[in-house]
Amino acid sequence: MVETPTPTAQTMGGRRLAATAWAGGAVAALVLLTALVSLVWTPHDPAAMDVANKLSDPTGAHPLGTDHFGRDVLSRLMVGARVSIAVSLVAVGLGAGIGVPLGLLASARHGWIDEAVMRFNDLAFAFPALLTAVLITAVLGPGAVNAILAIGIFNIPVFARVARGAALSLWTRPFIQAARLAGRGRTRISVEHILPNIAGALIVQGTIQFALAILAEAGLSYLGLGSQPPEVSWGRMLNEAQTFLFLDPRLAILPGLAIVVTVLGLNLLGDGLRDRLDPRLDTRRADGGR
């Protein structure tokens, strides 16, 4: 039997990315591109109201029709991509920015710090995530920034757990031992040697969390707790479409499709990256789900 070398940062380049992963990546890139384009150009001003022309079916001027204020749906979907992505990206960044150092600290120091980090994780998992997010936004008030906080908080334990798990197995490796013998401090080793080597696992988890964050932002905004007008996000659009469900289901279907396509793309990309970077991560995905 051929022995498979344990995958680490050194062997990352080895395997090819699956076709589905390329497709997923392409979709994600397209959405990102759309969001970026919306910064400089949209077919119409997404905030421009034309009440006389409300709930119009798709026409040449409005390829996807208009909403209940007569605003262009296509333009709003484009801008919505921007807000959905920005909120999710910052939330995941927040989770990783706090969670990864915590996880590294826990793995480097063991003892009570490790224990404290893990108990914090347990407590965070004892509450249904959505419930806590609802409470947080009730206290702080609805809005994109607070949605970021609510989603970000739930990413902290996920990243802490992944970082700790991946880092723990590295501390016993010879090159780490060598660095320790050379008198490097634990913090320095964590930053210089551990972090680059667990980056693969973190990128994979980040992709998955990003997809989950988009779903979470949509859920919060749908409940009216996320982005607020005049901001547009896909969840916000779904929230506004709710009362027009029977009159104009298009308004509810289009933003939902945008969410599905984006999340699908990110998940396919995430799965592909995981297969390439770290096949052992397979069962962890649902773990971080909400």
Partner: protein, 321 residues
């Protein structure tokens, strides 16, 4: 075993105490005065003070916390600030909606995910596997509330097979009640089933490579028999872990799904109570939900012991040493 349960019960109790402190603290800083909400814009200052006193809101925080915990422990829940009835009375009919809903969703999740996951693993790399995994990718990407909207559009509005929302009550008969719950349950279940099917598949794949599966085949068992008699129980261990986590997602999911389907359950009650600043209802519900999640986690741990005799002995050893 008894020792193990006792140990878990203590851990659960500690978690709940921590949870209750967090919730109480959060509700303390929640902006909005329940008395003002009840009495409205024409209320006078002295009227508000009288109402606050009658609701016990004028007491210091630590006293109110202890009174609350004492009430929880003795089963004497306080009166809801808005409904003015004991929270217990509010909860029972709500649980009669939410619990069946969560259980239906969980049953659906398992009933879909296990066979599909096993099938995908058994047909690894073939068309069935590809189809199931493709569909599960799609399922994971669909927000459950949007799925709920689509179901309403399709089955309630276009086909008119099912009610679009609301709950007739169990006294209207099991049929109408279940008809009202089936769409919400499906909306909750499909995305979770997609996740669980993937977990099942990878777990079964792992088990299929185990030596004992070869032993079973060497005895003359067919592939299917070996999987059924030897593989499943081993494969179930990670699956049960995820199921435990999913139960908490399903509970939380009711907050959003009950809003979509206009169901008078716990999820909508808690959402409404937050809006109305009915902190009595909110704190009891949050602790209740945390307790349910905790109990399910204990059950998951217990089910490991049922599934895997090696863990049974581990716990016994823990008991004696």
């Amino acid at each position: 075993m008894a020792w193990f349960i006792a140990k878990r019960a203590v851990a659960l109790a500690l978690t709940l105490v921590a949870a209750s402190l967090v919730v109480f603290g959060v509700l303390e800083v929640l902006p909005g005065d329940p008395a003002l909400l009840i009495l409205g814009v024409n209320a006078r200052e002295d009227t508000l003070a009288a109402l606050r006193e009658s609701m016990g809101l004028d007491q210091p925080a630590h006293w109110r916390y202890l009174a609350w915990i004492g009430g929880l422990l003795t089963g004497q829940l306080a009166d809801s600030l808005t409904y003015d009835v004991p929270v217990t009375e509010l909860l029972v009919p709500r649980i009669a909606v939410s619990l069946p809903l969560a259980l239906m969703a969980l049953t659906l999740t398992v009933a879909l995910a296990l066979p599909l996951g096993v099938l995908a693993a058994a047909r690894r790399g073939r068309a069935a596997d590809g189809a199931i995994m493709g569909a599960s990718q799609l399922g994971i990407a669909v927000p459950n509330f949007w799925l709920g909207i689509l179901l309403i559009l399709l089955f309630a509005v276009t086909l008119r097979w099912l009610p679009s929302g609301g709950f007739p009550g169990w006294e209207a008969g099991v049929g109408p009640a279940l008809a009202a719950l089936i769409m919400p349950a499906v909306a909750l279940a499909l995305p979770q089933a997609a996740i669980l099917a993937r977990v099942t598949r990878s777990s079964v794949l792992e088990v299929l490579g185990e030596d004992y599966m070869r032993t079973a085949r060497a005895k003359g068992l067919s592939q299917g028999e070996a999987l059924w008699h030897h593989g499943l129980r081993n494969a179930l261990i990670p699956v049960v872990t995820i199921m435990g986590l999913q139960f908490s997602f399903l509970l939380a999911g009711t907050i959003i799904i009950e809003n979509v389907f206009n169901l008078p359950g716990i999820g909508r009650l808690i959402f409404q109570a937050i809006g109305q600043r009915d902190i009595v209802v909110v704190r009891d519900l949050v602790v209740l939900l945390a307790a349910m999640v905790g109990v399910v986690n204990v059950l998951v741990d217990l089910s490991y012991a049922v599934l895997d005799p090696r863990l049974r002995r581990g716990h016994l050893r823990g008991a004696h040493g």
